[in-house]
């Protein structure tokens, strides 16, 4: 599903954000990507989403390789990889339903199907009653649910979540985590970047990867990780 092979990422001013990282996330797995700020979690997520290309090595997502896919075809990768952020990134002047419908509309869904599908997605994240509310009038937890519904719009293979509970209280965090597990139970891989080790500790059965200074230093699924 997702495979990073000897991936390094160097930025012109910041230097190396990732160094020689190799990992494999199979279909249907739930993975926590942990580490301190600046450890390379977000860079890893961006590379999987192919918002950036690695300086060295290869990123593979399903059939797409960072070495082969052209800029023109990146949209194909993006439809297979859903992405949610700590700050939700919803369109504030639009309702919850419109935010989800927007993702469907701009990716070519038939116009007659858009509203029904958007409503179904909002139902999936438990937000049907708030479909008509403006995004900026929703609570943090509700906004994150809208963002998740939007990320699921194109039925991706994998859901990436970059610190998705960073702005949420405990109760909303639990709700979002339950939602991620439900999504994962349907067979979709979930990769969640977080620095909250207490949260990670609550889900002992999930796989945990730890990054430090751009290197993968721990993988709960492996006996050893070479740094």
């Amino acid at each position: 599903m997702i495979k990073l092979t000897n991936v390094s990422k160097e930025y012109p001013k910041r230097g190396f954000a990732l160094r020689d990282v190799s990992l494999h996330v199979p279909k249907g797995e739930f993975v926590f990507l942990t580490g301190h700020s600046g450890s390379g979690k977000s860079t890893t997520m961006r590379l999987i989403h192919m918002a950036d290309r690695p300086s060295e090595g290869e990123v593979r997502v399903a059939a797409y390789s960072s070495k082969k896919v052209s800029d023109r075809d990146l949209w194909k990768v993006r439809r297979r990889v859903g992405f949610v952020f700590q700050d939700f990134r919803l369109l504030p002047g639009r309702t919850a339903l419109e935010n989800v419908a927007f993702a469907l509309e701009v990716t070519g869904t038939r116009r007659s199907d858009i509203v029904a599908r958007a409503q179904r997605l909002l139902g999936q994240v438990g937000l049907s009653p708030k479909a008509g509310a403006l995004a900026n009038e929703l609570s943090g937890g509700e906004q994150q649910r809208v963002a998740i519904a939007r990320a699921l719009a194109n039925e991706p293979y994998v859901l990436l979540a970059d610190e998705p509970t960073g702005n949420l209280d405990d109760r909303a965090t639990r709700g979002i985590m339950d939602l991620f597990w439900d999504i994962n139970a349907s067979g979709m891989a979930v990769v969640m970047a977080t620095h909250d080790l207490a949260l990670v500790g609550r889900y002992a059965h999930a796989r945990v990867l730890e990054l430090d200074a751009g290197r993968l230093v721990y993988d709960s699924a492996a006996t050893t990780v070479e740094g």
């Binding site: 023109r72 949209w75 993006r78 439809r79 990134r89 701009v106 990716t107």
Partner: protein
């Protein structure tokens, strides 16, 4: 379809911003339009003066009619000559009496008409340069029965210098105004696109194709450019009417220029939007 709907929706969602963009495009093109109006009228004035540039070949009194006919025939075939007109001694005297009424008595007391017969050689438009005038005058002087050929060298030189200054100023100032207008239009549309960066980001995030993302913005740029161009046209036309009514008679610019200006507004709109979106897409 989505592109058209979104482009129109952008005008609805942020009427102030899109209105300001169009107004900026309009004011930028207004400067170009006013300059065009001034340049066109200056050109017309110079052309009117140039119309009067001609070569006059004065003939000896003893020249025979068949020689005059031959000369007229040959001169009309010289490159750059539009027509050759014969002015007899009598015609010359009549014209002098009409043109110089203060000397009426002097002309009426003459026992012998002292004015020579002549050929007035009119040149084709675009051929009234010092070089051509001098060449045609030289060609006329080759004939032994042509006493003199005059064309007001100083006058022709001055007109030609004025033309060159006019052409240079039009090119430099017109080019500068157009460049400034292009920059203003590009900035105005970049601001409009920057205001919608979140939408572009989300489109990119969820996997919209680049062409799909660009299309509504290109259309929006075209609409803003068209609206701005129409504003500029309206303001330029109003200025023309006011000047015509209260200051002096001037001519309206050719329709081709108007169409060119409106097309330029649309093209600037599309290109500026295209570049701004492209830049945004690269940054995300």
């Amino acid at each position: 379809m989505y592109a058209i709907r979104e482009a129109l929706a952008a005008f609805r969602r942020a009427p102030l911003l899109t209105g300001l963009s169009s107004a900026m495009v309009g004011l930028a093109l207004l400067v170009v339009g006013l300059f065009g109006l001034a340049a066109h009228n200056l050109d017309l004035a110079l052309s009117a003066i140039e119309e009067r540039v001609e070569v006059v070949a004065y003939l000896r009194d003893d020249v025979r009619q068949n020689e005059i006919d031959l000369l007229m025939q040959e001169l009309s075939e010289v490159e750059g000559v539009r027509s050759v007109r014969y002015v007899s001694k009598r015609d010359a005297l009549d014209r002098a009496r009409t043109d110089l009424p203060d000397f009426g008595e002097l002309f009426s007391d003459l026992a012998v008409n002292p004015l020579p017969q002549s050929l007035e050689i009119e040149l084709q438009p675009g051929q009234r340069t010092p070089e051509v005038v001098e060449r045609v005058a030289g060609d006329a002087m080759v004939y032994p029965f042509v006493e003199d050929a005059r064309y007001g060298q100083e006058w022709v030189d001055r007109i030609f210098t004025l033309r060159r200054i006019g052409a240079g100023a039009t090119a430099v100032l017109g080019g500068t105004f157009a460049a400034v207008a292009a920059l203003i239009i590009a900035t105005a549309l970049r601001i409009a696109i920057f205001a919608r960066r979140d939408e572009i980001y989300v489109m990119r995030l969820v996997g919209a194709r680049n062409g799909f993302i660009r299309r509504p913005f290109l259309l929006e740029g075209a609409l803003a450019g068209l609206l701005g161009a129409l504003i500029a046209w309206g303001l330029t036309y109003t200025t023309y009417r006011v000047v015509y009514a209260y200051l002096f008679a001037i001519a309206w610019i050719p329709q081709l220029w108007v169409l060119g200006g409106i097309s330029a507004g649309v093209v600037f709109g599309v290109v500026s939007s295209g570049l701004a979106v492209r830049r945004h897409l690269r940054e995300i």
